[in-house]
């Protein structure tokens, strides 16, 4: 294991290295992690790298052991890769403000109607708030996309207001409908596919989060911002799931959270 100031490099199986950061998850740390991923990607001396996977406090670097330099005995040698990653990580962490790319605010329509919000009552009870107030507080923030993962297109969002934190279900549902918007612990998010799930469901978006036939196939990238916009059941039915989020006609913010 190699360490530098504020991070350590650890093997994650025989074909990946984790660069793990000591700092707590934050916007600043995510910016560093994405900047590091971009620096590694543009480094031409690292042809063995196959995947870069950012997370809250970690960047996982997958590599093909067969494309590593070989030591004298002919075995793949990770030393050069590790050294290079160490140097790049130190460089990126030393930048006070990482180089920023273009990040977008993506507004995602969500219908909080009863028929799409089977667990709204649970959330009302745990928070002591009315459904209208929950909707207002859920649609207010610009959530930070820390990373994508779990299933294709799932967004790990930061910034859920503390009053809306709510324990997961003791027994996960076997099948949660695609597009379901839920709260699990301190996280909120959208289930891109119909999968098992343990979050409390408070709404549903008509938009598809994963569009394998479109380019790009995903509606958001790390460091983008997400805002949920409340829509009616009639608007829900009228939205084409495959339309780009910026093309979806949405009523102005002042109308959101009116309890529909």
């Amino acid at each position: 294991m190699l360490t530098g100031p504020g991070f350590e490099l650890r093997t994650n199986g025989d074909a990946a290295l984790d660069i793990r950061f000591a700092a707590d998850p934050s916007e600043m740390l995510s910016e560093h992690i994405i900047a590091l991923a971009e620096a590694i990607e543009s480094c031409e001396q690292l042809p063995s790298i196959t995947e870069l996977v950012p997370a809250y406090q970690c960047l996982t670097v997958c590599y093909d052991p067969l494309r590593l330099p070989r030591c004298e005995a002919g075995a793949p040698d990770t030393a050069l890769l590790e050294q290079k990653l160490l140097t790049l990580t130190e460089q990126v962490l030393a930048q006070s403000v990482p180089a920023r790319g273009t990040h977008h605010l993506i507004r995602i329509p969500v219908c909080y109607d009863e028929k799409y919000a089977p667990d709204m009552q649970v959330l009302c009870e745990s928070s002591g708030l009315t459904a209208d107030e929950i909707i207002r507080r859920h649609t207010a923030p610009h959530y930070l996309v820390h990373m994508l993962g779990f299933t294709p297109g799932f967004l790990y969002l930061g910034g859920l207001e503390e009053s809306l934190h709510c324990p997961r279900k003791a027994r996960p549902e076997l099948q949660v409908p695609a597009g379901s918007v839920g709260i699990g612990g301190a996280q909120t998010g959208i289930y891109p596919q119909a999968t098992p799930g343990g979050w409390q469901l408070i709404g549903r978006t008509p938009l598809a989060l994963f569009r394998p036939l479109q380019e790009p196939a995903f509606i958001a990238r790390p460091l983008d911002r997400i805002q949920f916009v409340a829509i009616s059941a009639a608007e829900f039915s009228a939205i084409d799931p495959m339309s780009p989020p910026e093309k979806v006609p949405l009523v102005s913010d002042s109308n959101s959270g009116d309890g529909r």
């Binding site: 996977v53 997370a55 799932f154």
Partner: protein
């Protein structure tokens, strides 16, 4: 020119090398569950190793060919018949228009590959023809094949009769052994727990699928192991969830996870996950990273040498 599916089998899908490079979007590589068996079939026919093929799971299909084409069936051993005439696994089968390939009883392993000396004429999705079963895209209509499906083929060729040398004929009937390197969170497990993990007490649960291989047996104690902040989960990673029953991430596995990781199946043995059958008892053997890489180099060399040995 096409393949016509007469009977689908349990889960017959179009597969290739999958979609590497998309983990950061939450999309696991997918593709053939046993890439080694797929490569053997393709190399027998003179194809690239990950040329699109059919993956057959546990119960085989019945397929009618409307053109002359050579095929090869590798991986799990089924009794095979072409028009009621027995044909061999691990060898070129010269098929003629109108012939029917039938899969009989499964003898060992879990997944067979039907390699084709021809091109499947379907549009790729994200640069691959692989069927992603869990997310429902790719392949034909994003799903396993059904009776009545037609898979268009072109550039069909006949290849000369040849078979795999004995060294390449894998035996799936023995108790499966998976070699692993130590897990990222292995240090949190007690020596006693680790010893139990390596003692061979677990079997493959019938609830396993392309997302994950679930193990059944006496649960491992997980009390007191700290919660992990979610981070990337690579294929072959063995996680221990709160119920104490390990799960091995598989080809269509989730890409981010937070359960403690007790071990990682080495890259060279990932293909063996594709041949595990429910109730099989599993052994894990701990190796170090240098050994894991040596084994991978050896397997890669074996495949590289195959064309010159046919």
């Amino acid at each position: 020119m096409s393949l016509r599916i007469i009977k689908s089998g349990l889960q017959t899908t179009i597969q290739d090398g999958g979609r590497p490079g998309n983990l950061r979007w939450g999309l696991a590589c997918g593709g053939a569950a046993d890439t080694f068996a797929m490569a053997l079939g393709n190399l027998l026919l003179g194809n690239p190793r990950s040329h699109p093929c059919l993956e057959v799971t546990l119960t085989g299909p019945e397929i009618e060919f409307t053109c002359d084409v050579s095929i090869a069936v590798t991986g799990a051993r089924f009794d095979l018949a072409l028009n009621h005439q027995a044909v061999a696994n691990d060898a070129v089968i010269r098929v003629h228009a109108g012939d029917r390939l039938r899969f009989g009883p499964l003898r060992s392993g879990a997944r067979a590959y039907i390699a084709l000396a021809g091109e499947i004429q379907l549009p790729p999705t994200l640069d691959s023809l692989s069927t992603h079963v869990i997310a429902g895209f790719g392949g034909l209509h994003g799903r396993p094949l059904q009776a009545g499906d037609r898979i268009p083929l072109n550039q069909c060729r006949q290849e000369s009769a040849r078979q795999l040398p004995p060294a390449y004929r894998l035996d799936y009937s023995t108790r499966p052994l998976l070699r692993v390197v130590s897990g990222l969170e292995a240090r949190h497990f007690s020596d006693d727990t680790l010893a139990r993990f390596y003692q061979g007490g677990f079997t493959v649960s019938p609830q396993s699928n392309r997302m994950g291989i679930r193990l059944a047996g006496e649960p491992l104690p997980v009390k007191g192991i700290p919660q992990q902040v979610s981070s990337a989960l690579c294929p072959g990673t063995v996680q221990v969830p709160p119920n104490g029953l390990p799960i091995i991430s598989f080809v269509e596995g989730q890409t981010i996870g937070g359960y403690p990781r007790i071990a990682h199946v080495i890259s060279a043995d990932l293909h063996r996950l594709g041949q595990l059958v429910a109730t099989a008892r599993l052994d894990f053997e701990l190796v170090d990273q240098a050994a894991a890489h040596r084994i991978l180099v050896g397997k890669s060399r074996l495949l590289a040498e195959l064309p010159s040995r046919l």
